[in-house]
């Protein structure tokens, strides 16, 4: 008996040791995977930080009041002048127009999906809204171009309006998706209370559901605007490029900020003569970076305002 108790005690110890500690191989794999997961995050941060740093560092060189308030009219070669005013106005007009087209359609579709949506049509709409978020931006531009050339003839397709239509194709599904999420958050008790008071359904939706979720809807719309404001490709092929100020979206080409960045980059290095003092060889690159800084500030600002609106104005539902 006494000979068998010693190994039993030993076995108990060994079992305990086995249970409280992971064996080295498994622990090593666990460590390696932890390092890899942290590494993946660090790796993704490298381009983000590098990009933001470059944009801020190169963009601030020409980011002056004059840059914001002058156009490119009459600017050629390496002249130390020229700005982005016409592109800012163009972006403002085209984006506003796109929002005017897509917000009503998007909001009503979201209302349909949340309040009425049942049956095959609602299922199809839900599915294709998701599919539409994946339409390539350049295809949206081609669609707007094809639509307007078939209606107005070959010359009618280079205006701000065409660009706005292209952007709204990209914007509507984003608006629908975010508004739908917000409308779903409205508690059913509010609707029921309204029905119990004998309020008709449409008035319930307008006065109760929309009123309750207005902060969330604003956020959704702002984020959708932030998404399309940086779109370049559809505007390159629809609104086109111009050097001058144009505020009329129904007539003539319109410059926008992203297209401005692209066209400045495309012009490349200016060939300056030896010792020519008023010629800056890298002026186009510097303008592109400054416009990129402005565009990023606008997009980040819209994102920030969108999040703050939800935080400040959403009703306290306790």
């Amino acid at each position: 008996m006494s000979t068998s108790t010693a190994p039993t005690l030993d076995a108990v110890e060994r079992t305990r040791a086995l249970l409280v500690s992971v064996d080295p191989g498994r622990r090593r794999i666990d460590r390696i995977m932890t390092v890899l997961v942290y590494g993946a995050f660090a790796l993704a941060m490298v381009p983000l930080i590098s990009l933001l740093w470059t944009v801020i560092d190169s963009g601030r060189v020409r980011f002056t009041l004059e840059f914001l308030t002058s156009t490119m009219r009459g600017i050629y070669g390496g002249i130390d002048a020229g700005g982005v005013y016409h592109a800012m106005i163009g972006t403002l007009v085209i984006t506003l127009l796109a929002a005017v087209i897509s917000v009503p359609v998007g909001l009503l579709t979201a209302i349909y999906l949340v309040e009425y949506g049942r049956g095959p049509l609602a299922r199809a709409v839900t599915f294709f809204v998701d599919v539409m978020t994946g339409i390539p931006s350049i295809v949206a531009g081609l669609f707007a171009f094809a639509l307007f050339t078939l209606i107005l003839g070959p010359t009618g397709a280079r205006t701000g309006l065409v660009g706005a239509v292209a952007l709204s194709v990209l914007m509507i599904p984003v608006v629908v998706r975010s508004c739908e999420e917000m409308l779903k958050l409205v508690p059913n008790e509010l609707r029921e209370a309204s029905y119990a008071l004998g309020v008709p359904k449409w008035l319930t939706i307008v006065r109760v559901v929309l009123r309750t979720s207005v902060a969330g809807l604003t956020t959704g719309v702002l984020l959708a605007v932030a998404r399309v404001i940086g779109e370049t490709a559809p505007l390159v092929i629809t609104a086109g490029t111009t050097d001058s100020y144009n505020v009329n979206p129904f007539d003539g080409r319109m410059m926008t900020l992203p297209v401005y960045i692209y066209s400045q980059w495309r012009q490349g290095v200016v060939p300056c003569r030896e010792g020519q003092a008023d010629c800056l060889a890298d002026i186009n690159e510097l303008r592109a970076w400054a416009a990129a800084l402005l565009l990023i500030l606008i997009v980040m600002g819209l994102n920030l305002i969108g999040r703050l609106v939800t935080r400040w104005f959403s009703p306290k539902l306790r």
Binding site: I111, P136, W202
Partner: protein, 330 residues
């Protein structure tokens, strides 16, 4: 208010399932029509995109080889529209698949970091930071790619090609300018990281807590818990996230247009410049100066892109939708 009679008893319990008809009068009915119309309009827009592209591209389908060369501006070496679209589709798929191969493991890593590794308080901030990547306009990515990134990786590609040639005896060519498909794919990978991360993160967070706790109770390490509980649960979610990322990469224009120096060939020399281009970049670079049949040819290539992305996105969404129904989480 006699117009809205008090609803019958079952409707009071579930008023949102009340079906149409008798209780809806006056403007309520109009409002239903308006909102239903908006939903139908959305489907109409998608159909119109397809329809107008087909109508505008039709002349390019029927044009002869000579017409395509003269008026359509199709380079001389291609005899037909299909021959021209082929290398474009090849370049598009190659760039996107490379981007996907790079981005998916990193995105899954970030998603796991947010859902299972980072402290709860930090996780939401990190989520915002990753979303910040999605907010940066593609033209800014292009600018950064062409002025900063391609210069950095150009030397790396040359060195890499030398090593491959020396060791494997392969015939890899590399351009020191870095304006090659590999560079463009890496930038595309950065651009599709946020969407893949966001979708996978949502799926990982839905893993049933009981499964995770059961794995840990059986003595699993954190990684073993993830491998046995989280990843099997999230597999289809990650697949569809990757396909959504692929859809983004296929249609991305500006970054590719600015970084890649274009060419039209079926070549796997991804480190060399002037070999490939993508459909979207090709359209954006040629469209502003095109007219007549040349526009129709470009719209025809755009139609090919539309069909490819639509198929990829529909497949991805179908996987997500199917998963929702059978997921054990709810």
């Amino acid at each position: 208010m006699t117009t809205t009679d008090s609803p019958p008893a079952p409707a009071a319990v579930r008023p949102r399932q009340r079906r149409s008809g008798d209780t809806e009068r006056g403007f309520s009915r109009v409002f239903r029509w308006i909102s239903t119309g908006a939903g139908a309009l959305l489907l109409g827009v998608l159909a119109a995109v397809a329809l107008f592209l087909i109508v505008r591209a039709f002349p390019a389908f029927t044009a002869g080889a000579e017409q395509l060369h003269d008026a359509g501006k199709v380079p001389g070496s291609f005899g037909s529209l299909l021959g021209y679209v082929g290398p474009l589709v090849f370049g598009t798929l190659l760039a996107s698949v490379l981007a996907l191969v790079v981005a998916t493991p990193i995105s899954v890593g970030i998603a796991l970091f947010i859902s299972h590794y980072a402290p709860r308080r930090l996780a939401s901030i990190i989520g915002y930071v990753v979303d910040l990547l999605a907010a940066i306009p593609s033209v800014v990515f292009g600018l950064w790619g062409v002025y900063v990134f391609s210069g950095l990786v150009g030397d790396l590609w040359v060195w890499f090609a030398d090593v491959l040639n020396l060791i494997l005896g392969a015939n890899v060519e590399a351009s020191p300018t870095g304006r090659s498909l590999a560079t463009a794919s890496l930038v595309l990978a950065v651009m599709i990281l946020p969407i893949i991360t966001a979708v996978s993160r949502e799926v990982f967070l839905q893993t049933p807590k009981l499964h995770e706790e059961a794995a840990l109770a059986l003595g699993a390490t954190r990684w073993e818990m993830i491998r046995t509980a989280v990843l099997p649960f999230g597999r289809s979610g990650v697949i569809s996230a990757a396909m959504l990322g692929l859809g983004r990469a296929l249609g991305e224009t500006m970054a590719v247009l600015m970084i890649l120096s274009p060419g039209l060939s079926y070549s796997f020399q991804i480190f060399d410049s002037g070999r490939h281009t993508t459909i979207a970049a090709n359209i954006a670079s040629r469209f502003p100066e095109a007219n007549g049949l040349a526009i129709d040819v470009l719209i025809a290539t755009g139609l090919a892109l539309f069909v490819i992305t639509l198929a990829v996105n529909m497949l991805a969404r179908w996987i997500v939708a199917r998963r929702k129904e059978f997921s054990g989480a709810n």
